[in-house]
């Protein structure tokens, strides 16, 4: 508890851990606010809190997730991430070694992304008042005027192509495995990754990227439904075109899950003008996070407000929102 009371122990925690790993001039100042030099123009500003259990999972941990998640929220809005903040709520008794490992991950992801964590906060709460560790990250990114409408979807038109950068479901299934909810073993890893390098290339090479969103909780289905409802357009997805991770596919078949509803942390849905879709795909495939990019459907003028799936068998059904957690089949 002493590490959260503003005294010597807290200062020790801040300097030995946070300042040590989040090395930059701004955070070293330890002022109440980070004073930032930003060029004139539009800023994107986002925040997210991370409460994942377990804290460590194949392919990442709560630290890498908290950095990549916020970077991605900026990037899919069309912004170049520049600064992050990091707030920690730590349960009394949480192991220092684990906290250090998490903070190191955050520093590494930020460094790889060329982004600085410039301010933060630490609270320690009594045992039982939080589940080990919660992290909040907020982020600021710079936006060019031509990208301001990407997050809104208002530029989306019938005929536009819908693109995903790889197979859905890897993060959610990797976390389920880490929770030991089932006994069979897989090689699955979370797809947790910074999408900005791929997105910056997309935006550089094409002026027809009309919409982007990362497919986190609620999966691909949530993004498609939000877009269809918000913009009152129809969406048709072809199940045969969706990239597949074979292990995710098999686990979903056994448990009765639909990969379209499973959380991702390194997948985005992009809507691109038909004329430039192939060009954008070619650019994405040259990046680490876009190697399995595919067109999976298109925007239509029919069934406005709805996303429809053409199944592998040829039948059609609605892709509805997720209602409650997916639960394994009983029999």
């Amino acid at each position: 508890m002493n590490h959260g009371n503003g005294g010597i122990y807290m200062n020790q925690l801040i300097s030995e851990l946070f300042l040590h790993f989040f090395k930059n001039e701004t955070i070293q100042e330890q002022t109440d606010s980070a004073i930032l030099n930003v060029p004139a123009g539009h800023l994107a500003f986002t925040t997210d809190s991370f409460v994942i259990d377990p804290l460590f999972f194949p392919g990442g941990n709560i630290g890498s997730l908290s950095v990549c998640g916020t970077l991605n929220d900026l990037a899919v809005s069309g912004a170049k991430p520049v600064y992050l903040s990091a707030g920690f709520i730590i349960e009394e008794g949480f192991e220092f070694m684990k906290l250090e490992r998490i903070v190191k991950s955050m520093a590494l992801e930020a460094r790889k992304a060329g982004v600085r964590i410039v301010t933060g906060d630490t609270k320690v709460v009594n045992s039982g008042k939080c589940d080990k560790l919660f992290i909040n990250t907020s982020g600021i990114g710079m936006m060019e005027e031509k990208h301001l409408l990407i997050g809104s979807g208002c530029k989306v038109r019938p005929g536009d192509k819908i693109i995903i950068n790889g197979p859905p479901g890897e993060h959610g299934m990797a976390v389920m495995q880490a929770r030991k909810l089932f006994t069979f073993k897989t090689c699955l890893k979370s797809d947790c990754a910074n999408l900005y390098p791929m997105i910056s290339k997309m935006l550089k090479h094409s002026g027809l990227v009309h919409f982007m969103r990362d497919a986190t909780r609620g999966g691909v289905a949530a993004v498609l439904n939000e877009l269809a409802r918000k913009c009152n357009i129809g969406i048709e997805i072809d199940e045969t075109l969706i990239p597949v991770n074979e292990e995710v596919k098999v686990m979903c078949e056994i448990l009765g899950f639909d990969p379209l509803y499973i959380a991702n942390e390194g997948k985005l849905i992009a809507v691109v003008g038909e004329a430039d879709a192939e060009n954008v795909i070619g650019v994405m495939k040259q990046t680490k996070t876009g190697r399995e990019t595919a067109i999976i459907g298109e925007i239509t003028g029919s069934h406005s407000g709805r996303a429809v799936l053409k199944t592998k068998s040829g039948g059609k059904r609605i892709i509805d929102d997720l209602m409650g957690d997916q639960l394994p089949r009983i029999c």
Partner: protein, 364 residues
């Protein structure tokens, strides 16, 4: 003999194969017929894959009572809730059951009020909870048909062997044949049954003989992939058009004529048929599985004394008619606006394989 290297997912979802079977059905189907897909898994598969698009207008599919969550009575939920309120009791349940409304509340709401209710993926997880929490009494709510009953039986046998005396089963397990015969004898026009594939994997074919021999209905045991279901429909239409009724097996890669004798032996060692209440059907004689006296030490209904009140179904809910094929979900006045997955009134809207939930999810 299963061809080497055959995979069971993509091949049975192949659009050319599905279209071909659909065409074959169209060529022979002349009579207006009703086919009941008994199992909730089939209801889900049919609508998730858009298979009604492939059937001619002469064929109507009815949902049946093969969804264990959907047919769990309100009393069963109320009983579980009362057990969960006993100090020192941990309730373990399959996930879907947690949202089913009882007469006053649900397990989900009880969990929010600090009842120790844990979602498990297998009865063996519940047994493990009991093993690790010897100062608590762990009650597993056993629902499901012949597919899951053997695992509940196995858990009791294991509990006895390992002396895990704090493990109990509240059995709401049911068996299919009495319910199907009740439906066949009832007033819903059912010309044929798409029989449950995984139940049949345990029981074998014999449980359906009365449906064809006495009630003159077609029966085809079906797998769950699109090609399985459409092929089963084709086989049923052939039977009905010819008037030659029998029990056939489409799911040959999984179901054997004799079923799984080991699973049946375990089930019969622990359980004995007893009358059971089915939501929608009422009391069906000898359709439930009660724990034998020999294993009474693990029987939650005997080891805990609680008074479960009588209850009436919620006003306006027609789950019973839906489960017996008399109505479709869209016939219900509560469907969608009042009764939906966020605010379910009846059990058919709660389970992922309940007809109302499936209709809401895939067809609205």
């Amino acid at each position: 003999m299963i061809p080497e290297g055959m995979r069971y997912i993509d091949e049975f979802r192949d659009s050319a194969l599905v279209s071909n079977i659909s065409r074959k059905i169209g060529l022979i189907s002349e009579k207006q017929i009703n086919l009941m897909e008994v199992c909730g898994g089939h209801t889900m598969a049919i609508h998730k894959n858009g298979l009604t698009d492939f059937l001619p207008e002469t064929i109507h599919l009815l949902s049946g009572p093969g969804c264990p969550v959907c047919v769990s009575s309100q009393q069963c939920i109320d009983h579980a809730i009362l057990l969960g309120r006993i100090p020192g009791v941990i309730l373990a349940t399959y996930g879907d059951l947690i949202r089913v409304p009882g007469s006053q509340t649900s397990l989900e709401k009880e969990k929010a009020r600090y009842a120790d209710i844990r979602i498990v993926y297998s009865v063996l997880d519940a047994l493990e909870i009991a093993r690790l929490n010897r100062n608590h009494r762990v009650v597993f709510i056993g629902i499901g048909f012949e597919t899951t009953a053997p695992s509940s039986a196995a858990a009791i046998l294991q509990a006895g062997k390992d002396r895990i005396n704090n493990f109990f089963l509240l059995s709401s397990h049911k068996i299919m044949p009495p319910a199907l015969e009740t439906l066949a004898a009832g007033d819903t026009q059912i010309d044929g049954f798409i029989a449950p594939g995984h139940v049949s994997a345990i029981t074998g074919y014999g449980i359906y003989n009365k449906l064809s021999e006495v009630y003159h209905r077609g029966v085809v045991i079906s797998g769950f992939e699109p090609a399985d279901i459409l092929q089963s429909v084709f086989m049923l239409v052939k039977q009905i058009e010819s008037g030659h009724f029998q029990v056939e097996n489409e799911y040959t890669r999984i179901v054997k004529p004799e079923g799984n004798s080991r699973a049946l032996a375990i089930m019969n060692e622990v359980f004995v048929p007893a009358d059971a209440e089915w939501r929608g059907l009422g009391i069906v004689p000898l359709s439930g599985l009660a724990i034998k006296e020999k294993y009474a030490a693990f029987d939650a209904s005997k080891r805990f004394t609680v008074k479960v009140p009588d209850s009436l179904p919620p006003a306006g809910c027609i789950c019973g008619e839906i489960l017996t094929g008399k109505s479709k979900p869209t016939d219900c006045n509560l469907f969608s606006a009042t009764c939906n997955p966020l605010n379910p009134v009846g059990a058919c809207m709660v389970s992922a394989e309940g007809a109302c939930s499936v209709f809401y999810k895939f067809m609205k």
